[in-house]
């Protein structure tokens, strides 16, 4: 058992009711300090509602919630200074440069990161003097991230942070998140990209229809590690497959049969995406 003080986030029986319908219907969640936790789920499953309750943006209907030891229903400045929030959408149009914006927000915090250091970390050094209104969507998103981390947060909320990124920008963003996590920042990430969750998260939770249906490491989720493997190769009559619990043995046999190299050999297990889709499908 972990000590409660080791928990960055502790949620018991969280409920949020809108007009007689439970948008969040009894969520339990523990996120230890230093962990990267990813919340997955289809649109409308209650991800954003849950996260916004933890951020102190929405009031809850019932349940116990503790974020860095504080009830987010009663946010204080001191508590806010320990959080970083990258909201899902932002559409502000201030005629300000990246450096002015990041520098201004740094002034809200007791122990901010260096402005140029943050701008560099999100890869906007070249755009530091450009106004926000002149940036592309992906660059704007990186400003959001810069504003989220400039206060040196202990806990960082990232709500679909890489939407609109090109693949290269996404890779660089992942490197940034890994370095923040390496520095001890606890991160709660919601995303629609399963490769993102798989790369970054220590654990993932799947939320469907307002309930957490499973929590596990990305490689264990949904019994993925123990799942049947599928061995495929190019046989004389075309492509062939065998579903097996002993893929190594099957490959060895194939190797003997072909006397060495097996043509177009593949061994696959269900991807996180396969597991996730079957999980949300079963719940619907």
């Amino acid at each position: 058992m972990r000590d409660m003080n080791d928990m960055a986030v502790r949620v018991r029986g969280l409920r949020k009711r809108y007009g007689g319908i439970d948008a969040v219907g009894g969520v339990d969640l523990d996120i230890p300090r230093g962990e990267v936790f990813s919340l997955l789920g289809p649109n409308g499953a209650g991800k954003t509602t849950t996260v916004e309750i933890l951020e102190g943006h929405r009031a809850r209907t019932a349940g116990e919630v503790s974020v860095l030891g504080v009830d987010p229903g009663r946010p204080t400045r001191g508590w806010r200074a320990r959080l970083g929030i990258v909201p899902q959408t932002s559409n502000e149009q201030p005629e300000l440069t990246v450096r002015e914006m990041v520098g201004h927000f740094a002034g809200y915090y007791p122990r901010p990161r260096g402005v140029d250091e943050v701008i560099d970390a999100v890869g906007l050094t070249e755009q530091a003097g450009s106004r926000l209104t002149r940036l592309s969507g992906g660059q704007r998103r990186r400003v959001d991230v810069a504003l989220g981390i400039v206060g040196r947060p202990e806990l960082l909320f990232l709500d679909e942070p890489t939407t609109g990124f090109d693949p290269d920008a996404r890779r660089r963003f992942w490197t940034l998140i890994e370095s923040l996590a390496g520095g001890g920042t606890t991160i709660l990430l919601t995303t629609h990209y399963l490769d993102e969750a798989e790369t970054l998260a220590d654990r993932v939770g799947v939320i469907v229809a307002g309930r957490v249906v499973e929590i596990g490491t990305p490689d264990q989720l949904g019994g993925r590690a123990a799942a049947t493997a599928r061995v495929g190769w190019l046989g004389p009559e075309g492509r062939q497959y065998i579903e097996t619990d002993n893929p190594t043995q099957v490959v060895a046999e194939l190797s003997r049969k072909f006397d060495g190299e097996v043509p177009e050999l593949t061994v696959t297990r269900p991807t996180l995406e396969d597991v996730y889709l079957s999980m949300i499908g079963a719940q619907r």
Partner: protein, 276 residues
Amino acid sequence: MTTEAPHVPLPLPSPIRIGLSRGALELKSFFREKDAVVFTFSLPVIMLVIFGMIFEGDVAGTGVDFRQYFAAGIIASGVMSTTFVNLGIAIAQERDDGTLKRLYGTPLPHVAYFLGKTISALVLSVLETAILFVIGGMLFGLRPPSTPERWLTFAWVFVAGVAVCTLLGIAMSSVPRTGRGAPAALNLPYLILQFISGVFFIFGTLPAGIQQTGALFPLKWLAQGLRSALLPDTLLAAEPGRGWEHGRTALVLTAWGIAGLALCLTTFRWQRRRDR
């Protein structure tokens, strides 16, 4: 990135300092938006010029040029435009575009946000008034206050007017459901008040019922207070109270200030309606 130290409570930056920094940021952003600058400052100026060309003659039995009477009203109206109307619309739009939500998620003290808005509204009102003085002076001889006492009157009426209209603009920003509805929600009361507060017409010539209604709202008192600082006492013959009523002006503006502040503190929304 640097290693995280365990949580040690550190002193938070002072709300005043952050408020000043927000005021500077708001002004910087405003002046870079050329359209907003032009339209904000030109509307009262255009009204001043057009009405100045239409009307002529004195306010009956006072020897005061009607255009000067009207100019004092336009200065009051200009203050309400830069504070109440523009501020209310800007905040409603900031609520819609996520600016307020982002700020709410930071350790920004709420009072610092309001302080920043007040500072920028005050600076813009001073500029607006200075422009109106220059143009009113060139076209029909409007003069700055003539004595230190009148300057003092001008100063307190102006500052109280800016403060009250700023607070009411912030409070009104929570009324429209969306940012798109904000211009209508803010302009409607502004337009009506201009008609019933002695801006477009001489207050003393309005029907009694309209005078009584107008006297319930701050614009009438702001305009009257500015007339008392800018125009000669011979004008008193046309004022319904036969006096400048500074005590009552202070009372009404203070009451609206308190009401506005109470509304800001209790009804201000950092979120769009559908986000709660």
